[in-house]
Amino acid sequence: MIRKIMVADDESDLLEMTLLRLKKTGYDAFGAEDGREALELARQLLPDLIILDIYLPFIEGDELAKIFKKDEKLKNIPIILISATTQSLEKKARECGADGFFLKPFDPADLVAMIRKFVPDGA
């Protein structure tokens, strides 16, 4: 069964790259560029893993994570928080209930390794 991963990042170029890599790794990848879009997409898609950038327009990543964790249908989906700033990334991740965090720029191999922990390979 092919696994679905949703990525939310307001950097459209980076979003494109990340989605491409995930697809090439064998996952079905979907992207959202702001908090509202991410919320809608998650509810529609019910992905197997969600990757959220902290800085998202409308609803920030950590706020979104809190919402997801309270939602009946979404609370069991593992969430990885990513950010370009170190400032209390770990703290924010812990506080919003995220299951992992990553600093940009990341080593793609590392990100994939972390993803594999939560979602074993698709194809």
Binding site: L14, R21, Y55, K104, P108
Partner: protein
Amino acid sequence: MAYVFQNEKWGLLVRNKGDNPGGAGELRRRAEEIFLGKKAASFPEELVKLPPEEIERVFHKLRVHQIELEMQNEELRHAQEELAASRERYFTLYDLAPVGYITVSETGLILKTNFSARSLLGLVRGTLINRPFSKFILKEDQDSYYRHRKQLFETGGSQSCELRMVNLDGIFFWAQLEAAAMKDTTGAPVSLIVISDITEKKKAEEVLIELTNAKSKFTATVSHELRSPLATIKEATNLVLEGMVGPVNEEQKDLLGTAKENIDRLGRLINNILFFQKMEAGKTEYQPQPHDLNELIREAHRSALLLAGNRSSDMVMELENGLPVIKFDKDKILQVMINLLANAIKYSERGSIVTQTRREDSEIHVSVRDSGSGIKEVYLNAIFEPFSQVRDNQKSGTGLGLGISKEIILGHHGRIWVESEEGKGSVFHFTLPLSG
């Protein structure tokens, strides 16, 4: 009453009992009394009976006494002038001091003030004497004042505090109070308070805090703006390099490999600058976890091999077996090791670069030795200062690496230093304590 003492050299030193500036006049009157007194009645007759030599002797004595009295007068006048000058000095020192002096009784009443104090408290007319000092302290800060006052009288040690005060015009100002406990002339305990207006200083502090906050916010924004595009470039490069979008030939791999190295270099640079800014703001955080130091050094070597290029055979490790696991922030110490290795590669064109680890008493000692051109003795300390680029061949770099490394090692309660000999090479050392 006047006492007359003979002074061997000059004359009389008159000591007056009681504060009598007219003491000299008193002497004269007394002298006249005696002269005109009972004894005087018989005096003229006796005088006639006296032989001439006697008379001469008596006159001589009188003359001497007269001169002595005149000199004593001079001394008195001089003493008076001194007293006046002393009073003047006291007035200047106390009354005209640029800070306020206030003497407060044990019960908190103002006993004495100088000009500055009166001016600070807004007194134009009248007096502050016997007013309660606490009236001039802002209600919210009175607690602090009373606490310090209690401590002052209990311990006798001087106290200092900053608090908000209000003057007679109802205007608030920030004041620094420094108080000492003393006893007044009756032996009652009083406090001598030095009061200065620090409103300007407080304003400056506030501005500084605002600036620091603004700077942090700026840095967070900048870091985000710099790192995001870098992440994109890195991903794009990696996707092609890993063959994910089609086969890559050797030449393409080479070029992309170079691109990737430089992306990593740029990433480290951004990290350094941000870390340095945090250092300046005093906000560095370390996450010490138990790790195997030798393992970390091997990891650092793997990263450094990319920089070493065709010199990889020069990179040697001599790691002592069985080193105890100690707590340190892995990412930060990794950064220090990569920094030292990168420097060794950069500043030595040939020769081996040897990394050693040893356990020594209560610390683990790490050293990185190169056979480069060495560092001049005068620079051995300065080299750890941020932005110093003391090595003569002016190679590129921000000059932050060692400054940050030093900060990290000190933050782990270790030591860092360098030994070097010009023309022979350098050895960089750092230690990490075994406990904590």
